[in-house]
């Protein structure tokens, strides 16, 4: 059991347990906090995959912005008594069956890949440098990058307009 494997199994356990708590707990604030724990586990996973920029951006964007938005929204739409009742709707057995089927299907489809058991190749070149160049070069991905920033602007304007109280 190398250190790499130990770290992966611990992180995977953190992610799966936190995700299970997100979808089953009754108190919504606790669900948002378990989501923070899941997102942090995913950031650690990116760091083990040598995607250091993505790991840090995951913490800044997901935990520092999205999770805080969730917590604010839960606080603004809360009614006290609703924390103790079960949070599942009437068709939850179908949902459980669908998600079990989806998990089985994805695992089967993945196992059909001939790269499924592949070992990790060596990292070619500086990942951070390569990523920065890809995001700004014309034969790279500069157009999707710019369109994503316009999307964020549109979302910001839309969210402010929708939530604005006259």
């Amino acid at each position: 059991m190398t250190a790499e494997q130990i770290i992966f199994y611990l992180t995977a356990a953190l992610i799966l347990v936190s995700a299970l708590m997100v979808v089953t707990t009754r108190n919504l604030i606790h669900a948002a906090l378990w989501l923070v724990s899941t997102l942090f586990g995913v950031a650690v996973l990116y760091a083990t995959l040598d995607a250091s920029f993505l790991a840090v951006v995951q913490v800044v964007v997901y935990i520092g912005a999205i999770a805080i938005m969730f917590i604010f929204a839960v606080m603004l739409t809360r009614r006290d008594l609703l924390d103790k009742v079960p949070q599942t709707n009437t068709s939850w057995p179908w949902a459980a069956a669908a998600s079990a089927l989806m998990a089985g299907g994805l695992l089967f489809a993945g196992s059909q890949l001939n790269a499924f058991g592949a070992a990790r190749p060596a990292l070619s070149g500086d990942a951070l440098q390569g990523l920065s160049l890809a995001l700004v070069s014309a034969d790279g991905f500069v157009l999707p990058f710019e369109v994503a920033s316009i999307l964020l602007l549109a979302a910001m304007v839309g969210a402010v307009y929708l939530a604005y109280k006259k």
Binding site: A3, I29, H30, L33, V36, S52, F53, V56, V57, V59, V60, I63, G64, A65, A67, I68, I71, M75, L128
Partner: protein, 390 residues
């Protein structure tokens, strides 16, 4: 490689030899040595934190024309220890209706988010935790975790004042992350890397970035003070307004953790100011003797911390809507304008010899500062005319 030229590697080698001499397998010995290094670094930071409590109290006393603690030891230097004993002996109250787990986790996470930062700070040329290639983004990320801990504290206290204080603090911290990130981009662009080690080394070989972009250093200082939640941006803990804000319900050592965390955070930002703009560990003979470099770094960080304290104990508090307007209508446009102008000037002046380059960049910064003052002056004149002769 002896202790004086490379202290950490020498100590690590000595420890590894001791552990394998006792019969441990090499991988386990490596892990234990790394863990010991981490514990040693955290201990050093926390001891420094205790010292900072004394520094804070002495400095605020001198600013307020009084003496400060001077009974417990020479110049009152052992004063933090009675403080700590008092905080530990206090009753640990958890309010009824409080959410226990977030309530207890929030102070730990708040102090933890500051200790995380010291892993990437280059204390000397051969003394640092890790040379992370995205270190400046890591700084913004630790601010995000600090914000989360404040929301947890405010919410789980089951108290309206705590919640309002937490909302204000979070709005403050989230808003000021933007000029902070933009002002961090300026040393990144000038040095070509987000890694703090690379930025300090570039300053050691060239010129301190404070001379090249003084307005950028000032911008970083203002955004850092606002991000810390210290005066004049400390509306969330104003006793006269909302009774200590998000840490109302915290008593005893939990409050102590919040307080110590805030002081350490201020010192850490002083350290970042020193590393990014004032050359970090650079000084005479700092490359050959890393411990001398560490001394220079701590001295510069103390100077930065003193400037932050000076601003805190001189300027009155700013109202919350003024604080947010200051960020969105002034600091953010200024930060982005400065970024664009700095990069353009750097590109144009890059091929000149060093003296002309520094003079040119300094003049460009003065030009941007003058233009900003002109814009502010004309908008103030327009506002005064709109109000008439009131």
């Amino acid at each position: 490689m002896n202790f004086w030229t490379d202290p950490i590697a020498a100590v690590a080698q000595g420890l590894m030899q001791t552990f394998t001499g006792w019969g441990m397998a090499p991988e386990v010995a490596g892990i234990v040595t790394n863990l010991l290094g981490v514990v040693l670094m955290i201990t050093a930071i926390m001891v420094l934190d205790i010292f900072l409590v004394w520094v804070e109290r002495k400095v605020v006393a001198r600013f307020q024309d009084r003496l400060g603690p001077n009974r417990v030891g020479p110049w009152g230097i052992f004063q933090p220890f009675p403080d700590i004993i008092k905080l530990i002996l206090k009753e640990d109250i958890t309010p009824t209706g409080a959410d226990k787990v977030p309530f207890n986790l929030a102070p730990i996470l708040s102090l933890g988010s500051v200790i995380f930062l010291w892993a990437v700070v280059p204390v000397a040329s051969r003394i640092y935790g890790v040379d992370l290639n995205v270190a400046l983004l890591y700084l913004v990320a630790s601010g995000a975790i600090g914000t989360l801990s404040i929301i947890m504290a405010g919410w789980s206290s089951n108290n309206k004042y705590a919640l309002v204080g937490a909302y204000r603090m979070v709005a403050n911290m989230v808003s000021y992350e933007i000029p902070l990130a933009a002002s961090l981009l300026i040393p990144t662009l000038l040095a070509g890397s987000m890694s703090l080690n690379a930025i300090v080394e570039m300053q050691a070989k060239g010129v301190w970035l404070f001379l090249v972009t003084p307005l950028g250093a000032l911008l970083f200082l203002v955004a850092a003070i606002a991000e810390l939640g210290r005066s004049p941006f400390d509306l969330n803990e104003g006793e006269s307004e909302i009774v200590a804000g998000f840490h109302i319900e915290y008593s005893g050592m939990k409050f102590g953790l919040f307080y110590a965390g805030e002081l350490l955070h201020a010192f850490t930002f002083g350290g970042f100011l020193a590393a990014l703009f004032f050359g970090g560990w650079h000084g005479p003979w700092a490359e050959e003797y890393p411990l001398l470099g560490a001394f220079y770094f701590v001295a510069k960080a103390m100077l930065g911390y003193w400037v932050i304290m000076w601003i805190k104990y001189t300027v009155p508090r700013i109202r919350i809507d003024h604080m947010l307007a200051f960020n969105w209508k002034f600091l953010t446009p200024l930060a982005f304008t400065l970024l664009v102008v700095t990069v353009l000037a750097h590109r144009l002046l890059m091929s000149l010899p060093l003296g002309l380059y520094v003079a040119g960049m300094f003049l460009v910064n003065l030009l941007v500062a003058w233009a900003t003052l002109e814009v502010l002056r004309s908008s103030a004149r327009r506002q005064r005319e709109a109000l008439g002769t009131r």
